[in-house]
Structure formats: C-alpha cells, structure tokens
Symmetry: C2
Subunit: 332 residues, 2 copies
DNA sequence: GTTAGCAGTCTAAATGCAAGAGTGCTAAAA
DNA sequence: TTTTAGCACTCTTGCATTTAGACTGCTAAC
C-alpha cells in the first residue's frame, strides 16, 4: 500500500527520531522538529492512521509513538536515504584486505573484524562457499611417527588439519593423497562427507586413513561462522536490560542458533534486513548481504545490532566489504 | 593471626552460608544452623570481633554479615574442606582426553572446554609452554604457486600455518626448511622471534622466506589464551547487574587483560586463588593451577567465576585436568 | 481538511507509613 | 570473666497515596 507524502514524512520522522534517541516521540515534537507547517493536531490524526496501518504503536495512553517492526521494515525498504561511506572509511575497509589471504578461515575472520570495526556493531560472516569450495588437491604429510598433516587445497583457500593416522609410511600417504585427489578434484568440499560411504567401500586398503581424514576435516568445519565485535553492542542502551544482553550474547556465541537465521535471511542475493530476529531476541536486528563469488559460491556477511541501528551505514559497509572480497577471490 | 576455634567456626559458617545462598546471614541463623550450643548474643559478639579484624562486613545497621574479600581468602586458605571428585566426574574429565591431541591448540581448547563443563563456570587456559615448546623440525610445503604451508613440529604438538611466500621451488623450500631446522632444532619456539635479527643477517638468501615465516608463526601465536564457557557464568545471580555482566564478558573476551591476571596468579607452582580480580571486576574470582610439563614448561589452567563460587570443586577439577594433561604430554 | 482547546489517561517521582529484620548495648546470670 | 536475655534503635522493603507532567483523542469551530 502506498502512503501519502505526508504520511511518509511522518513515519520517517518517527523512525529517525527513534533511531537517534531511542525514545518515543510526541506529535508536538514531530511538528517542531520535522513538520513546522502543519499543526500537531493534524499530525496526531496522521499518527492514528499510521497506527491503524500497523506501522506505529503506543506504549500507553499518554506516551508518544514508536515504530513497530513493520514500521522499521517500511522505513528501511522505502524511506531510508542511502548513505555513502567517506573515502576514509572505504580505504579503512580496503586496507584490511591488502595482504593476501591464504586460508578460508582468514577470509572469514578478517571480514568479520573489518565489518564490526567499520560500523561499530557485532558482525557475523558465514562462508557458505566453504561447503562448495572446489577441491584442487589433497596431500598428507608426515609430522611425527603417528601424527600427519592433512592439507586440502581448494580454489578459495587451503584447509590444513592435524590427524592421528598411526604409523604409515610417507609413500603410502602419498598414494592415499593421490587417490583422494583423483576422486575429489573438481568436486565440492562437502562431497568428502557425502561420499564417505562409497569411498570406504571402494578403497579398502586406505579405508582407515580416509575415514580419519574425513572426520578431521568435518570436525574442523564445525566452526562455520565467524563472529566479531560482540563487546561493541554491549554499550548500546537497549542492552542495559540484563536479559536482553544475555540473549544477545548467547545468540552470538551459538553458531547453531545463528546459522539458520543467517541462512534464512540470505536466501536472496543482495542485501536483506531482518528486524527482531529470534523469538526471545526481539531487540536484535541483522542486516545481511549475500553474494556469489567464483560463480555460484555464497558468501554471507551480516551486521548484528539493536533494532534501532544505523541500517544505512550497515548496508554500505557490507556492500563495500563484499565488493572487496569479490575482487580478491575472483582475481586469482 | 590465629583465630579461636569458635571464631573459625563462625567465619566458616558465614562464608559457607554466603557461598550457597548469596545472602547475608544473621546471628540467629548462624546459631540455628551452625552453632546451636551458644546463644545468638554470643555469636553477635564474635561477629563484631571478626568484623573488626576485617573478615566480615555489614551492608547497613540492620543487615546480616557477609564475608569481605579478606574473609574469603582466609576461608579458602585455612578453613575450606577439600572436595573429592566422584568417580563419575573423574572419568567424565578423562574421557575428554582419550583421543590423541596433536596440536598445541587442541590441548588448550580441549582443556578449557573440559574444565568449564566440569565445574560449570567459565575457564581459561594459558599454555605458557607454547613459547617454550622445543622445536623439532620445520617444513615448508607447496600448496599453490604462491601459497606455502609452514609446519613447525615441537615436542608438545604441531603448529601449521599458511604463508604467502611467492613463487619458490619446492627444492628451495626444502633447503630453507632444512637450514631452519638445523638452526632451531632443540631451541624453544620463542627463539624464532628472538633470533630474527641474527637469522636474517646470517642467511641472506632466504631472508624473505624466514621473515615471512617468523611473522606468520608469531601472528598465529597471538591467541594465547583459550576461553570456554562464558555463557555459563551469565546465569549466576551476581550477574543480574548489567555492569558486572559487561565487565565479566569484556574481561573474558580480552586476552590482553586476561593474560597479566593469569600470569600473575600463576607465579608459583600449584593452586592459587585470586579473589576480586581486576579493579572494576570486583565480582570475579579466578582459581588457577599452574603446572610444569616436560620439565620446565608452564601450563596454567583457571576457573573464572563469581566471588562466591565453589572453590573446592574448582580446585579439584583443575588438579584432575592438570594431572591428565601431564600424563598425556609426558607419556609421549 | 485543518486546527484549537480541553478532558481524560497514564507515568514517574516523591512522600509517608507499617512491618520486619537484625544489630549493639546493658545489665544480669553463670 | 564469659555468656546470655532483653530491648531500644536503625535501616530496609513493600505498599499506598499524592502530585506534576506529558500526550493523546475527541469535539467543535475554522
């Protein structure tokens, strides 16, 4: 439904006022600060109408208006001005990616840190590409009698993990690596898990080695999400409430909870905003930007902050970071 | 100063009551629950005396007594009963270390998780041994044209990290690895940093490679402390206060703040208790256990919880974990 | 369609009161 | 000298009441 110009102005005023102060706003204040040309009574009428539409709400009879989640959504979708980052901010972001990133983990961790620093909220990075990264080569190296190092090189970076394979000669390890490379080269990383059954049946000789390697890589993959800047959101006034703070931290510390939210909101390509995510976490918003790199590999970045956060800035930062990552990974 | 038997009993009663309830205790309650043989008036006199000595305090005229930090200290040092872990608890702890640990990181992370789970507080692990681990071998492997994998094997486990060394042949890498092994084998890990100047001067040919490797390993080493179970302490009632909660989380999220506390309290060998650590963090206690493994390498484990925590249990858990780690590392 | 004006509602802060908890002191008992 | 009973005193906590102030919603006039 299309709002009248004046209703748009008023909704915008309510949201922006709430964004900066966190307090409800009265009809009189709207008149004084945003719309001096009409009377507060007229604004009151409009407010009532916007409230009926579900964009605003009322805490009690004599309190000013605050936007509903719906109101926020309308704002970010239709009314919000875009914000351009300053040159300084852009170069600040880019400077975090000047040295070459060699492991998948590096990219995630670095991105998360960069985003969080740039917009002063917490940030999450989900590198969906991790599952679909294309395997290039698998090597196993001898470290000590029983400890071996498994290295999986992919088109997006390298994963290396120690594994305890027992006493196996380097010759055998080389062969095992060669065979695994033959089977998996060109396939996505996730195929390691998927084809576990087939492999262990087909290649009886190295069954034990394969299984250990698959377990090791799979285990390593458990930390799927990089989170940065948790401490940053603690200072926003909405988290003066202990329970809200606890909820926020528990969410950010828990990959299992975070993942569905991230995956869900990043269904489309591009920027998506989820306001009031999670049942108990009414006070958290997540702005996500999902991009494809190297063709079809998803890369989701997100800013996690209070519902009244600077959405415009968050979006700009995410776009900048995503573009930078894209540049890096596609260049190679 | 030695306390009379009765004063000891009363101090013990106040501390233990406070430990379990978190509330101040009155003279009458002490009489009923701990010392039925004397009147509450007598207890009141003793309480006054203990207060003068600095072990107890008073929130206001008509409130019961709570222990001071000094009182807690006296308690844990002289009055606390030792607590034996149940068989179940012991095997629970040991079961976390059954599969072989191959990297230094593994040991830290696993220990932290185990401790936190066993006593339901947050835990920190500082593997001082990391700096002094003896280097056994250094290898550099080719992953792609420019990306190489640096592997440093030590007596305590392996460190592997990706580095961008540019286009160098495997032959050269082998030689560089061989030379570095020759120089560093038998020396502590920290010598990599320490001898940076000497090396880069002595071995001009591989200077670039050496420096990159040293940087890489040093960078990796930045995360010196493993922290686990942050979310566990959030549910203790003392952290209903937002600021206390914030302080606790900020401390646990900040290695730079944590390290001096850990290093400091683990100056001696064995168990140490720091109550009310950090200026603003009056409500956190850290119980640390520091041990030497493989001769002279320090390994500090710690339990971080509210001041009124189950110290006896924490100590037992730390001892058990430390013993287990010692077994593992010394066996090899 | 817009506005002024006002009654009505709700909050938030201040005030006062009563009940209860626990101490500190005194004087008597052991 | 130590212990105890008893009581006055202090402070907290919870509750009810009041008051001032902030806004709205409605009505009637512009």
């Amino acid at each position: 439904m299309k709002l009248s110009k004046r209703k748009e102005k008023i909704l915008k005023a309510v949201v922006e006022s709430n964004l900066s102060s966190g307090e409800p706003i009265s009809s009189k204040a709207i008149q004084q600060e945003y719309l001096p040309d009409v009377s507060s009574a007229t604004i009151r009428n409009e407010l009532m109408s916007l409230e009926e539409m579900g964009y605003l709400t009322h805490l009690h009879t004599s309190s000013g208006r605050v936007p509903t989640t719906e109101g926020y959504r309308k704002y970010v979708q239709e009314l919000m001005p875009t914000k351009k980052l300053t040159k300084k901010e852009v170069s600040q972001i880019q400077s975090n990616f000047t040295d070459k990133l060699v492991s998948l983990n590096d990219i995630m961790v670095r991105s998360a840190k960069t985003i969080s620093d740039a917009c002063n909220y917490a940030s999450v990075v989900y590198f969906g590409a991790k599952d679909t990264a294309t395997i290039l080569q698998i090597k196993i190296m001898t470290i000590s009698d029983s400890t071996k190092l498994v290295v999986v090189a992919t088109d997006l970076g390298v994963i290396s993990e120690m594994a305890n394979l027992g006493e196996v000669s380097q010759t055998e390890l080389d062969e095992a690596g060669r065979i695994m490379t033959e089977i998996f080269a060109g396939k996505p990383l996730s195929s390691l898990e998927d084809q576990r059954y087939r492999i262990s049946k087909e290649l009886v000789k190295y069954k034990q080695i394969f299984e250990t390697i698959i377990d090791t890589i799979a285990k390593r993959d458990n930390t799927k999400i990089a989170v940065a800047g948790k401490e940053k959101i603690m200072d926003y006034p909405e988290f003066e409430d202990v329970n809200k703070l606890k909820n926020a931290i528990k969410l950010l510390d828990n990959d299992e909870k975070l993942l569905p939210i991230l995956k869900n909101s990043s269904s489309g390509d591009g920027v998506e905003i989820s306001i009031s995510v999670g049942g108990a976490n009414d006070d958290l918003s997540i702005v996500t930007a999902t991009y494809k790199i190297k063709g079809d590999k998803t890369f989701s970045t997100g800013v996690v902050g209070p519902v009244r956060m600077d959405y415009a800035k968050a979006i700009s930062v995410l776009k900048e970071v995503s573009d930078t990552i894209k540049d890096i990974t596609d260049k190679e």
